[in-house]
């Protein structure tokens, strides 16, 4: 077994970008998951969740339910999954067919210096199937990733692809500050989310 045989996060991201329909909504978790995606393919349809480790799945679930006619891709790490494994159970129970989970399985807490995970050897596809995901696959090459991704984006999910990945311990410098409020507003404009505006009549007094 060759130790560096796994693709890098960037290898997967380039393939993702090449195969991603423009209107796809993408949620990325903290650290390089977001920094690198913003570098490879910044777009209004991206939401960079730069903290709250482990909560990218619940956030993407809420989004997938609210936007049933658009594909939602969420990139989470194996450390984040372990932190809130229950989030995957909820995804399996709600089972939105427009949600694809890309699980970067690098076996370490990359964003904090590469410390080993509690368990780096889990069969995540097996776990995902047991939790009710319709499709789940362990991926070890970019070619396998492309083969798994294309059908995943056709509304027959939820799908989880566990991507065996070389750890990337150096922080990628994103092209711009990923301001949380700006990111949110830009995203909501891109999906055409309604705005709720308070309108005051009568000198600004509320009637009730």
């Amino acid at each position: 077994m060759v130790s560096n045989s796994r693709p890098t996060r960037e290898d997967y991201y380039r393939a993702l970008s090449d195969n991603l329909p423009e209107e796809t909504l993408v949620v990325t978790s903290l650290g390089n998951a977001s920094y690198l995606w913003a570098t490879v393919r910044d777009a209004p349809e991206n939401f960079y969740l730069e903290d709250a480790m482990g909560l990218a799945l619940p956030l993407a679930l809420g989004l997938a339910v609210a936007q049933p006619n658009r594909e939602v891709v969420v990139v989470e790490g194996d450390g984040g999954l372990l932190m809130h494994m229950g989030g995957l159970v909820t995804v399996g129970a709600v089972a939105p067919n427009n949600l694809t989970i890309l699980l970067i399985q690098n076996g370490v807490h990359a964003a904090s210096g590469g410390q080993a995970l509690t368990n780096a050897e889990l069969d995540i596809a097996d776990i995902a199937r047991a939790m009710g995901l319709k499709h789940a696959e362990n991926i070890t090459s970019v070619k396998e990733f492309q083969s798994g991704l294309v059908p995943a984006l056709k509304g027959d999910g939820p799908t989880l692809l566990a991507l065996a990945t070389e750890p990337d311990l150096d922080a990628v410098i994103p092209p711009a500050m990923l301001d949380p409020v700006v990111t949110k507003r830009r995203f909501m404009e891109a999906v055409g989310a309604p705005r709720y505006v308070s309108i005051f009549f009568g000198g600004g007094m509320l009637s009730e």
Partner: protein, 181 residues
């Protein structure tokens, strides 16, 4: 006689366009959860833990929909970083209904510390807290909380007090009944 707050809460969810309701069950929430579960226009999601609700609600809003989150006061402790991190950083709206434990007539000592901490903990991460002890106040706080959350991008929690929902009796209220446990 007016409807119970749980009936009014469901009615207000409909009026204000709540489409997703995430919850971790609590006895005091049963009627409201059942009403949401039975409503085809509301996606009721039972979560494994309360912090999922903060992600769920924020994701729904990103997608253009309103969500409400229901939990017991002990679950508020699980939501702290999620609220501070996601809701405060991004200025997401948040609307929570929290049924209280450990507050008034509590008979489970394990519930008391978190019950006492619920309101100050929520306030410390920027949530506007309405503590209510009557049907009328509960309905008013839910209506106005929904307005504030989704028009002003505010984080709002309505805490339903044990004076209203009652104190759950795990062990007997009087010593003689302990033998039944």
């Amino acid at each position: 006689m007016a409807d119970p707050w749980t009936v009014e809460a469901h009615r207000l969810f409909k009026k204000h366009g709540i489409k997703t309701v995430g919850y971790v069950p609590d006895a005091g929430l049963t009627d409201l959860i059942n009403a949401c579960d039975a409503d085809n226009d509301i996606k009721a999601v039972v979560m494994t833990t309360e912090e999922e609700g903060i992600g769920l609600s924020s994701g729904a809003w990103l997608g253009g929909e309103k969500a409400a989150i229901l939990m017991q006061s002990s679950g508020v402790g699980n939501t702290v970083n999620a609220i501070a991190s996601i809701v405060s950083s991004c200025q997401f709206p948040l609307f929570m209904i929290v049924t209280m434990r450990g507050q008034y007539g509590e008979s489970n000592p394990w519930q008391i510390p978190m019950g006492q901490a619920t309101a100050p903990v929520l306030r410390s991460v920027g949530v506007r807290v309405y503590e209510v002890d009557t049907e009328e106040d509960a309905v008013g706080a839910i209506e106005n909380g929904l307005k504030m959350a989704f028009v002003s991008n505010a984080a709002v929690a309505v805490l339903i007090g044990q004076k209203l929902i009652g104190a759950k009796s795990f062990i007997a209220d009087v010593a003689e009944e302990v033998t039944h446990v």
